[in-house]
């Protein structure tokens, strides 16, 4: 099944079924998850290709966070299959996700404000000299290399993180995931709480990641951002995938109607009629 190159994973016939060719970097089939009697996800398929930015949108309670947690290993799925590069895998812990090259940048960024940029980039996986001391210079030049590929601007890589702007902090959190050999990066609300200029900076950063051939998933409430940087939008509603759109051929109204289930303009030929 993994050899199935035709990307017809969508069980919903979306208006513009557009998926890049080739093997998805990450593919999930029939993901389901329940919390007690609440069915948070049911039969959700999900896929993201190398060099692609997928936007994951949906209203509050649609199951975005739950789906992300099944990918990042924080809240493993009850049912369904996951493939990385076509190989079936199990993601039961965050460590397992990390080993598979899946990195999640959470909204709170998980940076130590009291440490400098380099210390944060290598936190928990410091480079050590033969004398068992920190190889500060090696880490610094390695960190600089990665930050340069992402075109990040900082006062100094030895600046304390608490002195940096929100956009710079977001960039560091992303660079941290790159340094952990990520091939799939999940960004949870990357532009929330950022100003206009900083939002621009982060969107530019996402484009850079795409150029590097990473598979990127962006969870966002902000449709303007989504339309600016995302290639494909996957819409969740009430725990189900209700639509897939190619941003090029879609209007924000179509996505809003898929998110809310309101059927103005164009009738969706999906099970998107309110669900339960």
């Amino acid at each position: 099944m993994a050899e199935n190159g035709t990307p017809s994973v969508d069980n919903t016939s979306s208006p513009q079924p557009a998926t890049p060719q080739g093997e998805p970097r990450l593919r999930m089939v029939g993901i389901g998850k329940s919390f007690g009697a609440v069915r948070a996800l049911s039969g959700v398929d999900f896929e993201v290709y190398p060099g692609e930015v997928v936007g994951l949108v949906g209203d509050n309670g649609a199951g975005k966070s739950t789906l992300i947690k099944t990918i990042s290993g924080v809240g493993p799925a009850d049912e369904g299959e996951i493939f990385v590069e076509g190989q079936p895998v199990k993601i039961t812990t965050p460590q397992a996700a990390t080993r598979l090259g899946i990195q999640t940048v959470y909204q709170d960024l998980a940076l130590c404000d009291n440490l400098d940029v380099v210390s944060n980039l290598f936190l928990g996986r410091e480079q050590i000299s033969p004398l068992r001391t920190l190889s500060e210079n090696d880490m610094e030049s390695h960190g600089l290399r990665v930050l340069r590929t992402l075109d990040v601007k900082l006062p100094s890589v030895r600046a304390i993180v608490s002195t940096l702007s929100g956009g710079q902090r977001q960039s560091i959190a992303v660079a941290k995931s790159i340094l952990r050999n990520a091939s799939v990066v999940l960004l949870d609300e990357p532009t929330a709480a950022l100003g206009v200029a900083q939002t621009r900076q982060v969107l530019q950063l996402i484009r850079r990641l795409r150029e590097q051939g990473l598979a990127i998933v962006v969870i966002s409430h902000n449709l303007a951002d989504v339309f600016e940087v995302v290639d494909r939008v996957i819409v969740l509603r009430l725990g189900k995938r209700v639509g897939t759109f190619t941003v090029k051929d879609t209007t924000p109204e179509q996505i809003v109607s898929a998110i809310t289930g309101a059927e103005f303009g164009q009738l969706l030929e999906t099970n998107g009629n309110g669900g339960h």
Partner: protein, 420 residues
């Protein structure tokens, strides 16, 4: 302010370095900072240093020149060795954002354990058993503290308060009603309690000199290595200036000690411990993880750091240092006492906080303890020179601590206003 530094290189401060458009760092090495920011960051120790100098000059003046005599300064270090050793442990715990209120009781208890092992058990055990025995007891006690705090997740404030009370009772039980136990073992007494408890001149001059030269060598090699790797270095004048200042400080202290009896063993032990913990905190991943846990526990956990392991290790080390302080104090007074000094705990914590270690975790250098115990020690020593009683000493010390914490908080707030 930091906003604009973040995006556009400051055209006013171009340097000789050539920067391609894709350079990560903006050209100026030092960003423009307000005085408040400077005080909070690199120069945070300056107000403390000024305070120390003012206190010392004041006592020099009112004691009619006795204070700055090398004999009195040596005395000052002898009197503060225990506070310094406890303070080193306290700093480790403060860096985690925790507190250890049991250090004074643990320190005294380990002094008693040393005395009991050395005088009573089996007719008196040799020092190479009694001293490690006392140190190990301290480590074990710290591990127990850490177990309650890290594994069972009880607030450190309550855990260490409770164990402090327990141990102050336990040490009376251990001494079986005796108020003080004289320690007659000459090796133990010789650590800090005899007129010969000083390094020989060769060692007293040689050890610090070798250490400071090694440090200079390391800094110079590192400077050149960073140059060849294309990494940023501080400007040459400030680099050389700091090295010269370090050498002058160390050799100046050596001259003061040597013009009296030499470097006391206890001072050598204290500075040896500070040096070891400076290396651990700044040059190893264990030390980096201590700062990380103190700064953001959740981020540390997600980065794969064992938060529980770090907490256990730090509380163990803290009580180990308390035990070391207890041994030095037992040696200095050539006896083990059931009396837990009422000032010891607060002096140790005050020394750490006055020196500039944040009470909220993650910020501060181990070297702060030197400034801290010198201020605490100078006050006690200077007021004693003026024949003022313990009451005045306590009042003044309390006020100085209050001022130090207030200044810290005000600077922090000023920075919060100008910060991002």
């Amino acid at each position: 302010m930091s906003e604009m530094i973040g995006h556009t290189p400051d055209p006013g401060s171009t340097t000789v370095e050539e920067h391609t458009p894709s350079a990560v760092e903006v050209p100026s090495y030092r960003q423009r900072q307000s005085i408040g920011q400077l005080l909070r960051n690199d120069l945070g120790f300056i107000p403390v240093l000024i305070t120390l100098v003012l206190i010392m000059v004041f006592f020099q003046f009112v004691s009619k020149g006795i204070f700055f005599s090398s004999g009195n300064l040596t005395n000052l270090f002898l009197q503060t060795a225990q506070i310094g050793l406890l303070g080193v442990g306290i700093i480790l715990v403060l860096l985690l954002g925790e507190i250890d209120l049991s250090v004074a009781a643990v320190s005294t208890l380990c002094g008693v354990i040393l005395g009991v092992l050395s005088e009573r058990v089996g007719g008196g055990l040799p020092p190479w058993i009694s001293i490690p025995g006392a140190l190990l007891s301290g480590a074990l006690i710290g591990f127990l503290n850490g177990y309650f705090i890290a594994v069972l997740r009880i607030p450190s404030f309550i855990v260490t308060l409770a164990t402090s009370i327990t141990y102050s009772g336990l040490l009376i039980t251990l001494l079986q009603g005796q108020a003080t136990l004289e320690i007659r073992n000459s090796f133990i007494d010789n650590i800090a309690g005899s007129p010969t408890s000083y390094l020989t001149d060769a060692l007293g001059i040689g050890l610090p000199t070798v250490v400071v030269l090694l440090y200079v060598l390391y800094r110079v090699l590192n400077y050149r290595r960073r140059q060849t790797m294309g990494l940023r270095n501080p400007s040459l004048p400030s680099f050389v200036g700091i090295l010269i200042l370090t050498v002058v400080l160390v050799e100046g202290a050596v001259v003061i000690f040597e013009s009296n009896n030499g470097v006391p063993y206890s001072t050598a032990i204290l500075f040896g411990a500070i040096l070891v913990f400076w290396i651990i905190l700044t040059k190893t991943s264990f030390g980096r993880h201590i700062y990380a846990v103190g700064g953001n526990k959740e981020a540390a956990r997600r980065a794969g750091i064992s938060v529980v392991g770090i907490q256990l290790a730090v509380f163990t080390l803290c009580s180990f240092m308390a035990a070391a302080g207890g041994i030095i104090e037992a040696s200095r007074s050539t006896s083990a006492s059931t009396q837990v000094s009422s000032n010891l705990l607060l002096n140790a914590i005050a020394a750490a906080v006055i020196g500039g270690v944040s009470l909220f975790g993650g910020k501060g250098s181990i070297w702060s303890i030197v400034l801290g115990f010198l201020i605490i020690g100078s006050l006690a020593n200077g007021l004693a020179l003026l024949n003022l009683g313990a009451d005045v000493v306590a009042i003044v010390e309390g006020l100085v601590l209050l001022v130090a914490v207030t200044v810290d908080a005000l600077i922090r707030r000023a920075q919060a206003r100008t910060g991002r």
